[in-house]
């Protein structure tokens, strides 16, 4: 089964979220990158952009498919992974590390509790992941 780190939270669209002080780092899960296959294009928002929970914040494309990226929480984008557009394959190689996508300063702390825990996400995957 796919790698699901216990210290992260998850969306049903296969993004992960990591609390870092008052910020949240966001990427896609190992399961997501495996399903996509070779990632060849990543489109991220600009720093300062506002994102909304469960709304599209960017796009990831593999050879075969286009996938929207969904924000786990609402807030302002304070960092983006500027390496990714040049090295999209990083998403496959290290989805929870160097393949991170954005860092958000959340505007609604209650949204954090709505996200799936690692065991909940694992259960979701076990049921088919969609």
């Amino acid at each position: 089964m796919a790698n699901v780190p216990a210290n992260l939270k998850y969306t049903r669209e296969h993004e992960w979220a990591k609390q870092e002080g008052d910020r949240v780092r966001v990427g896609i899960t190992a399961y997501a990158q495996e399903q996509l296959g070779d990632v060849v294009f990543v489109e991220l928002p600009k720093i300062g952009a506002k994102v909304a929970a469960a709304k599209n914040f960017g796009v990831v494309e593999s050879v075969k498919a286009v996938s929207d990226l969904f924000a786990p929480v609402s807030g302002e984008v304070v960092e983006i992974n500027g390496e990714l557009p040049q090295k999209p394959e990083t998403v496959n190689q290290d989805p929870y590390g160097k393949g991170w996508m954005i860092v958000v300063k959340p505007s609604n702390k209650a949204e954090w509790d709505q996200l799936l825990t690692a065991p909940q996400y694992e259960e979701f995957l076990a049921k088919g992941g969609h």
Partner: protein
Amino acid sequence: MSATPLKRTPLYEAHVKAGARLVPFGGWEMPVQYTGIIEEHRTVRGAVGLFDVSHMGEFEIEGPGALAALQRLTSNDVAALPVGQIHYSLLCYPSGTIVDDLTVYRMGDARYLLTVNAGNIDKDWAWVTEQTRDVKDAHWRNASEGTGLIAVQGPKAEALVARLADRDVTRIGYYRFERGSVAEVPALISRTGYTGEDGFELYAPADRTERLWTALLAAGRDDGAAPIGLGARDTLRLEMKYALYGNDIDETTNALEAGLGWVVKPAKGDFIGREALEKIRAEGVPRKLVGLEMTERAVARHGYPVLKDGRAVGTVTSGSYGPSVDRYIAMAYVETALAGAGTELAVEIRGQAKPARVVKTPFYPSRVKKA
């Protein structure tokens, strides 16, 4: 969901065992990838890859009327095809648009084999039999079910097949074939492919195809031979600008705008679509299928609009990242005036115009072994 269950090739079990990801394709359950599309693509360009293309259809026609039947049905000149040779051709509608693209093998004086696209088998079978019903002494046989087909492609394909074959396959020229055996499996050994690399397509009885597949993989292990899915088959053919039926050509596109005029031979006599194609050729085509290179990172996909200064001037038919050219490439129909290499265009991707340029094709140089 679809009511008809997906069909499976004789190699289905082997794909499952190998850990392939299987997807529906043209009514078949086929491997899209084994380890990764880009890695598989590179295996074919750098070593040798094995493709299960058993889903493709095979029709045989035999008898004194076979030549007349095929001359009527297909756009290329079957009378000019010697025994032991193969040509690429088209089945056209009276309008000059395309029923299917295919290869025609001349097996004997009055015996031919047609290889057609998997998703078109039923449509093509109905078409060829109905359109030639009045031709005397021409007997059709649909051999699709009983025939397996493995493509062996890449710079090490020739040596691999040579090690297992009962004959000197190095002497078989491009678009030529011989009948023999490979790994003791009776096979039609055809020097053809859909990748731009040298290689063979091996037709074998369905019940012996798995044995052939296993023997090829084992004998090629030291050369890096690996199974290749439909994902890499698509990126490989895209780099060559080979048309894919259903993407780049279909019942709405005509042979000439698709750049397939080289297999349209009106001088041979009448065939279905000839009159329309002669007229289109005389008037000139209003649009052409061209190769596009994105000038920045962006994936153009089937159906995306092509723009010139904000005006819609065409449509993308296929597009991807091309692993061997390390560029984002596409095929698109564009207005003829804008079809010249070097023309600056754009592709509309999610509402944004991304710059693209018409380029010469193939995108990647062909390495097929010309006779």
